[in-house]
Assembly symmetry: C2
Homo-oligomer: 316 residues x 2
């Protein structure tokens, strides 16, 4: 199973009535610091505050009417749950989101506010998968995995596709990597439109399963990731890994302190809110700047969902 650029074009058409066409931003000060021309695709300005809406929306609108009517189900403590809830609402079908019982209340409230039914489970992957399977059996809902799903990957790929349609050829394209939905999708778009360009994943050192996987040529799992980048703790999916291997993705890692400094820099210089997971791409640009010198670089800003009441950590 793979994902083709035709599937990405189809996804782009499918989600166009629902998703924002997010702006592409520049920053002279960041460009001077890195020594490169950089085009930032601002998916933090996407609906639900993250690129995740693209994949969820494509998955929901890919279903036949018969499949769709019984709804969709997923397990997610983060942006994918909100994205799927909103995507389901856009089609007028039920969404069931299985979430660990220790999920922060605002996240539960956000998923419910988009009209989904939330089902609490014990905070383990086994429990999440078991409860999801039960919900699926009880309701007949379609399971929509957060990243290891061709429809999701094709949907996430539309961010890079839009970026390349708008800015043209790039030398490198950087996106954060977690389960690999965004990075694998970006690799498909880049591989078709700019086949000689380099696809790069930004990953926290404390959750570097993608880096290890690419080094060893086989998928490595990390049981206890350790990073403040709460959106980047998942392990690569199998289909995601195969796509990244095919496109010879390069993974560059950064430490959390670099990501926090990068976040501050973006807030102050670019005047936009990005979340720590998203800041990894800027940390990569700065730490590995000699690799980008003189290049035209595309970057996916993945999201901007942050708890303002937990802000002190951004202080210098």
């Amino acid at each position: 199973m793979s994902v083709s650029i035709d599937q990405v074009w189809a996804a782009a058409e499918r989600i166009a009535p629902h998703a924002h066409r997010t702006p592409v931003l520049r920053s002279r000060s960041l460009e001077q610091m890195v020594g490169a021309e950089i085009h930032f695709k601002a998916e933090n300005l996407q609906r639900v505050g993250a690129f995740k809406f693209r994949g969820a929306c494509n998955a929901v609108w890919s279903l036949s009417d018969g499949e769709a009517q019984r709804g969709v189900v997923t397990h997610s403590s983060g942006n994918h749950g909100q994205a799927l809830a909103l995507a389901a609402r856009s089609r007028g079908i039920p969404a069931y989101v299985v979430m660990p019982e220790d999920t922060a209340k605002p996240k539960l409230a956000a998923v419910r506010a988009y009209g989904a039914e939330t089902i609490l489970c014990a905070p383990s992957l086994a429990a999440r998968e078991q409860i999801s399977a039960e919900v699926q059996q009880r309701t007949g809902a379609q399971m929509i995995h957060p990243y290891a799903d061709a429809r999701i990957i094709a949907g996430q790929a539309t961010a890079a596709l839009e970026l390349l349609r708008e800015v043209g050829r790039v030398d490198s394209l950087i996106a954060p990597v977690s389960g690999g939905g965004l990075l694998a999708g970006s690799a498909v778009s880049l591989g078709a439109l700019c086949p000689n360009a380099q696809i790069i994943g930004a990953e926290p050192e404390g959750a570097n399963d993608a880096w290890q996987s690419m080094e060893r040529g086989e998928r490595v799992e990390i049981a206890a990731p350790n990073t403040i980048c709460d959106g980047l703790r998942a392990n690569l999916g199998a289909i995601n890994f195969e796509i990244l291997k095919h496109h010879q993705a390069r993974i560059l890692t950064v430490c959390d302190a670099e990501s926090v400094a990068a976040l501050r820099l973006v807030w102050e210089r670019m005047k936009i809110i990005i979340e720590p997971s998203c800041a990894t791409v800027v940390a990569v640009l700065l730490r590995y700047r000699e690799q980008f010198a003189g290049q035209r670089v595309g970057v996916i800003f993945s999201g901007g969902n942050i708890d303002l009441d937990a802000l002190p950590w951004v202080k210098g």
Copy 2:
């Protein structure tokens, strides 16, 4: 002395090579809260982080070569100083910025980083004007007032012009009001393109000289404004007041707590950094929402310059 739409078109052409064409943003959640269709012109994403660059750039590039070569001078503790410094650098001419000696160091550093010479003075308007006059006499530099200047007003007017060119007809246009450069400029653009629309100034209750001036039909000055909106403490300029009177501007006031709540809302929902002065426009939309119900509204987001280390006040 007044400002015509032809001067605004000329300003738009003059600054085009230097200023960003900032994006126009929407927010479904804010639109639902207000019950209106709202188009936000994101001047917080402008160079130097505020609309001020437009006016400064227009003023600097309006000078003849003979005038320009001796440089420009102004007094400002805020964004206008940075804007003029960068505008002068874009033309390769000297800039002298007179600043009160109690100005925060990061602001001094920012003006110097843009290549301007800073001159410190006692923290009073009289001292600022005296020192500015001395610098002007010594250097032969052109004085560029922050707002009471037709070139500045025409430059600031280009933000509203771009907004209206992009989104078309609006029913109302809201911008913050301080000295009145932005609001008077916006009134000129709106008056020409949408003569039946209402121009609205957003003003803090603790610095409501514009509201008082429009009520009385004559310019009122406030000696000691009291607001956290540090960009909105100046009194209306004379030319600015005349333009606002001509266009029958309506001033709507908000308290600081409303502006802080509005700022949080924009950071969380729109994922962009705006400063408290800028948040007044959203506070106005929410407090006076019945006046905007069903309307198509244009809004100028004026700026996003904020000290992240002074953040605790955004906490709920």
